[in-house]
Amino acid sequence: MTNKIKIKIDGKEIITDQGKTIVEAAHENGIFIPTLCNFAGALPKGCCRMCTIKINNRFMTSCTTPAAHGMEVENNTNEINDFRKGIIELLFVSGNHFCPSCEKSGNCELQALAYRYQMMVPRFPYDFPMKSVDGSSPYIIKDQNRCILCKRCIKTIKDDQGRHYFAFKERGHKLEVLLDDKMGKEISSALAKKAMENCPVGSIIFKEVGFEVPIGQRKYDHKPIGSEIEN
């Protein structure tokens, strides 16, 4: 039997199992904490900082911090929500995200979060960086313009020997996620589809099929992101 523990999020007491992360505990209890880089089944890596919360006056990422009995978590506060909005804006200005022409529009978590946090015009200046598009794989287009470097593809798309199809290249402001040349050419159609599904934005696009589900009928077209969690 697992140990049950109690934690408080914004004053609301919830019960969860020992060993769960704060974000897991929150979502199971109908409390929304936004995430981007977190992905069920893969080790959390706190890259996007969207799920930042405050415990004991310290900022922590709720995807990497295990819930502990008696913890008091600040989540839906003005301070934290403004940080989250700031992160979304920062991701928008540091890439080239043109939603209307993107195949992922409506299914894109970054776009959905921007709506949820009511981003109108980013407070930061657009960088309009020069980015490349790699179409050398028979099934995948890797578009660096839209990549938010969340590592989801790196963590989840591997071959049966555990080798990564995707990997970081360079560091800091020059950081990119590359598709391995050789493995990208050999990737199966099924895995390529999975890669596109796992990508929160439109940086990994499956070739051959486009706009299968029309805009207007997509995941976040009618209900904001998080509404599937909130009760």
């Binding site: 900082r49 940080f83 930061f124 990997a167 970081f168 800091g172 950081l175 050789k182």
Partner: protein
Amino acid sequence: MKDRIIEIISKYNGDSTRLMDILHDIQAHAGYIDEATIALLADKLTLSAAQIKETVSFYHFYSDKPLAKVNIYLNDSVTANMNGRKDVLKAFEDACGIKIGRVTTDGNIGLFSTSCIGMNDQEPAAIINDRVFTRLTPYRTKQIINGLKQGQHVKELVVEGCGDGNNALPIIDAMVYNNIRRKGALLSHDYPLFTVIKDILPKTSSEEITDIITESNIRGRGGAGFPTGLKWKFGSRAKGEHRFIICNADEGEPGTFKDRVLLTEYPEMVFEGMVAAGYAVGADIGLLYLRYEYKYLLVYLNGILENMRKNNFLGQSIAGIGDFDFDIRIQLGAGAYICGEESALIESLEGKRGEPRDKPPFPVEKGYLNLPTVVNNVETLATVVKIIKNGAAWYNQLGNKDSVGTKLLSISGDCRFPGIYEVEWGLKISDILAMCGANEVQAIQVGGPSGTLLGEKDFDRELSYSDLPTGGSMIVFNKNRDLLSEVVLNFMNFFIEESCGTCSTCRNMPYVLRGKLLKVINGRGVKTDIEDMVNWANLLKVSRCGLGQTAANPIVSSIRNFRHLYDALVQKEIEYDSGFSLETSVLESCKAVRRQPLFHHNA
């Protein structure tokens, strides 16, 4: 070639956690790490080529493109620039006929820029084929390039002779000077080496050693200041089939060079401190992570380890203590400031990119190879030896109430006597400035770029963990310096260059802030730009590690303490300026097409 690579891989038993060493060996052999080698490595280590590139591309000193026969890495620290780096760079570029970042067409000389190499007390400095050249002038630069062109070996280009102390040992043979200006409890030569290992450890239990360290109240000397005794206690309690002691010698905070001096003159004490820590924590393996910039010390340090093994100060049953086995290996870094962060250092030790880990778990529980690991600074470990010898009470007499003991300061910049000063905690900034012979001081950067820029009104503040904590970097700026364009901008460039890029905040925000800073420096700023910088910088607080959280400090602390410099630069008559200039933006293309457009707004 292929055989040699396979040989190198088998030298490290095909262990992908030794990728750093494998890449160092390959680069030493082949000059760079090419596509075919990456494919071969990927195949042998069961990784994808992209995964190998992930590590190769992270570190400044690995290259996947051909380098030159002689590669010059010219330091770009603020102090180098204050001492004439610009002219030295121009001399290099003119003499080589290339711009920085390039290799000459004959492939003989490569010229590159690099972040602070730990020579702030003897700038401008460069690393030329792993040999450090200090105090460069345009005149010397020309001589060096002429010598190279005439086919001289890099070693033959040295006319300066050797530095002082052990720098002159044939095994080091460096022109680096120690510049030790003030010795105190740590640096005074009153300790017969290896007394702790020989005489004290055999008579003292591991718990008692930890207790002495706890009672001494020493805190981590790298800058973060975590109590060392507590760290050892946590490490000894954590379960694992091995425990590790890591000595963090990735001294990368611009302006510090104390570890360079400790490793040159007091390496035995550093290693002895590792052995004592190993004994206290119950560790069996020690790793010293040496920054690549100090590679010139590697053979010397390995020689000392070899001597220690011969004397049973390392190895099995050390000093006759039956169950105490401990040995030390030195891991060479490859150029990444972030690896000074303890969990990033551990990732690097495992052959990966130096990306800090999420905490918890802390390294004391799950560190190197997910086993209990204690990471201590070079200075902490050297000090520990004297504390064990002289007792906690002896150490508690030093310093002030809040911060016990002494601290090595690396002082550089506008002062007559840059170098290493050992001082007791509690010293006033004004005393530090007087001590190093600094006049007409405008500002002092305490704790390196991640620290804080102080002006005159703060000169009576004292060094202490509660008020002014520091890893020891102190850079002095006189009244002739332009703090914004010479100092703050240099520090922001540094943080942009050295971010690992994993966190969305630290990857992007310093870049955005630098854009604002440049707007102000270029005279296009308005008042709200200053406020924006302060507000936007807050977002960095949610970054994972200390680098990210402090990456805006140069801007924030200079706005706090030197607001008048910003106010003087911003435009008073307007409230908004986009910062965009059509004329400047099309300048390049105008040059290319050799015609000037008629701008409507000028007509």
